[in-house]
Amino acid sequence: MEQPIIEINGLTKYYGSLKAVDNLHLAINKGEIFGLLGPNGAGKSTTILMLLGLTEPSAGEARICGLNAARNPIPVKRKVGYMPDNVGFYNELTALENLTYIGRLNGIPEAEVKDRARNMLAEVGLEAAIHKKAGAFSRGMKQRLGLADVLLKQPEVIILDEPTLGIDPTGVRDFLELIRQLSQAQGLTILLSSHHLHQVQQVCNRVGIFVGGRLLAEGNIETLAANLFNAAPYAVQVTLKTAISETNGLEKDILRLPAVSKVTIDGTVVEISGQEDITPDIVRFFVQHGFDVTGVQQKSYGLDEIYQRYFENNLKENVSNEKSSGLFQRSFFSRFKKQ
């Protein structure tokens, strides 16, 4: 078994009494694209900052390429390219100047630094804007420049914090395609955080769902779905022409089919869920029993459902948390009113 390139063991971070990251364990292998998925304020950015050694963890450790990020931040930063959310550049410098500056900070020899910056800008599709001031860049162009900036140091690991925030849909597609190509071409490990599940679904090999500082689940999308809907990962919805009069007998008959675990009948619609995909058997069953089937729809669980499901579970906790903050607010406002 290969040593994972990113290893997080029991990472915890407190901001005052607020627990931003709670006992996080995670391992990411070389060449993987890992998506950190979670709502705003879930602790994704804090985790990333701790990975880079930019914030000290309260407990636990993060190791990148075998190096402890909190103890050896400089060698770690040499190997990791990081693009923050709202990436910013020196507005009064041109794209090329911005990149050469970062190149110099990374110790690229003076003779090479301009050429390498130029090549990088061409690679991310900014050759036309090479001498344009970064202040005049659009959001999407800045994001591309940010990617060039990350790649310039030839990192082993790339960490992208909300890379698709604020770009239009075509821009997002191009950007994600670029990331995927780069990962394949150079064997890079990529960790990206996002709250856009569809985008994560497009490029990531594996995702981790991160809510309230805790990693609720990790794995590829199929395993996640299987974990969550473990009772019945596959569901088929069959629509019939006429409503079923005698439901009980039919239900028992369907349940006798292999791998079926649940059946609900509602007028003309029959929903069957089970452990395996047996859509052909189900259709055959209905036809053999003389029903007129007008539609068969297979349901698959995307990240949407997974996301929704996790947040529903989490909602209950939030409600109890909000009580105390609500109390605080009330007293604050009442004090205001008195004045």
């Binding site: 050896n72 990081y82 110790g107």
Partner: protein, 341 residues
């Protein structure tokens, strides 16, 4: 510098052991940062405007002193009359203050304008976090900002004074005493220290406040407080608390005067004015009141450079201490702060 930076890293990251830097690094990242900061400062409008302002006052006061120089040099009662170049810096006919008084006034503005957005504009622009993600030590950022501004200030003052010396040589043809050169160089160093105090104060405020406007206004408020209100407040308090001078003996009067002077010397510009006056006028022997016993037998002649420096040494060390305290505070706050936006 490099080894020092490595030492600091060891201090703050609790003993990093492996420092596997590539053997031949092209440019030290610290100097790359200094280079970029200097370029930024020199290209920025605020520096161009303030440097232009200082150049204008320099030319104005030089013009005034050059037109009055013959009168000043032929004044037999003045023991300093033979120091032509010091006279160039200090002579005036009252229409325009001499150059060092101008610097006492404009120096703080220069320092504030160079430093007030050092850290917070990088943070709000999102460049600080990107910078910190590069393999550079955190303190390099603040050190580079300080060193870059220091280079800019030193270059400005040194070139202005050398310009003055060169111009004086061409116009008057009088050769220069080594002690004069020493005094002028000390004046340059003193001005740099004075401006860097205000620079560090504004860097400190830029670490503390997130909005550049807040830090700039606070720095200017501190400057105005010290230049205008502090003297007024001290005077009001003196009037309220001190007994009437008529009932005091000579000794008591001297003692009270010393206390008042001590309070007035909390103002950086007062320290600067005291120090420059002593350096540029070799006959000044004391900055406080002198008793008759002390004056008895003294010949009104210029002091040597060393003795002038001894007279102003408390002022100089006070200025250096204030500068170092400001820098240390901003260093501490910057190293401790969360850099996320």
């Amino acid at each position: 510098m490099k080894s020092q930076a490595a030492y600091f890293n060891g201090l703050f990251s609790a003993g990093s052991k492996s420092n596997n830097q590539p053997p031949h690094q092209a440019t030290n990242p610290f100097f790359a940062m200094v280079r970029k900061e200097v370029a930024d400062q020199v290209h920025s409008w605020r520096f161009i405007i303030l440097a232009g302002l200082i150049l204008l006052t320099f030319l104005g006061s030089m013009y005034v002193s050059l037109t009055n120089i013959s009168k000043a040099v032929s004044n037999i009662n003045d023991p300093d009359r033979l120091y032509l170049y010091l006279k160039l810096l200090t002579t005036t006919d009252g229409s325009l203050p001499p150059f060092h008084i101008f610097i006492g006034f404009l120096g703080p503005l220069l320092g504030i304008s160079l430093g007030f957005d050092a850290i917070n504009s990088e943070q709000s622009g999102g460049t600080l976090i990107r910078l910190m993600a590069q393999p550079v030590y955190r303190d390099s950022v603040i050190n580079a900002k300080f060193v870059a501004s220091l280079i800019v200030i030193t270059t400005l003052f040194l070139s202005l004074n050398l310009l003055m010396i060169g111009g004086g040589l061409i116009i008057t043809g009088v050769s220069m005493e080594p002690s004069e050169l020493m005094r002028i160089l000390c004046f340059v160093i003193l001005s740099v220290i004075y401006v860097s105090f205000w620079l560090n104060l504004s860097i400190l405020l830029s670490v503390k406040f997130r909005q550049p406007a807040t830090s700039a206004l606070t720095a200017i408020a501190i400057w105005i407080f010290f230049t205008v209100f502090y003297q007024i407040i001290v005077n009001v308090i003196i009037k309220a608390f001190l007994p009437s001078p008529d009932v005091l003996s000579q000794d008591q009067l001297v003692a009270y005067n010393r206390i008042i002077l001590t309070f007035l010397r909390f103002v950086p510009s007062q320290l600067y004015t005291d120090a420059t006056t002593t350096l540029l006028m070799p006959s000044v022997r004391s900055l406080g009141p002198l008793t008759m016993e002390q004056m008895a037998g003294a010949i009104p002649s210029p002091l040597s450079v060393r003795e002038s420096l001894l007279v102003v040494w408390p002022q100089v060390s006070g200025l250096i201490a204030a500068t170092v305290v400001c820098f240390a505070l901003s260093y501490y706050l910057f190293m401790r702060r969360e850099i996320r936006t």
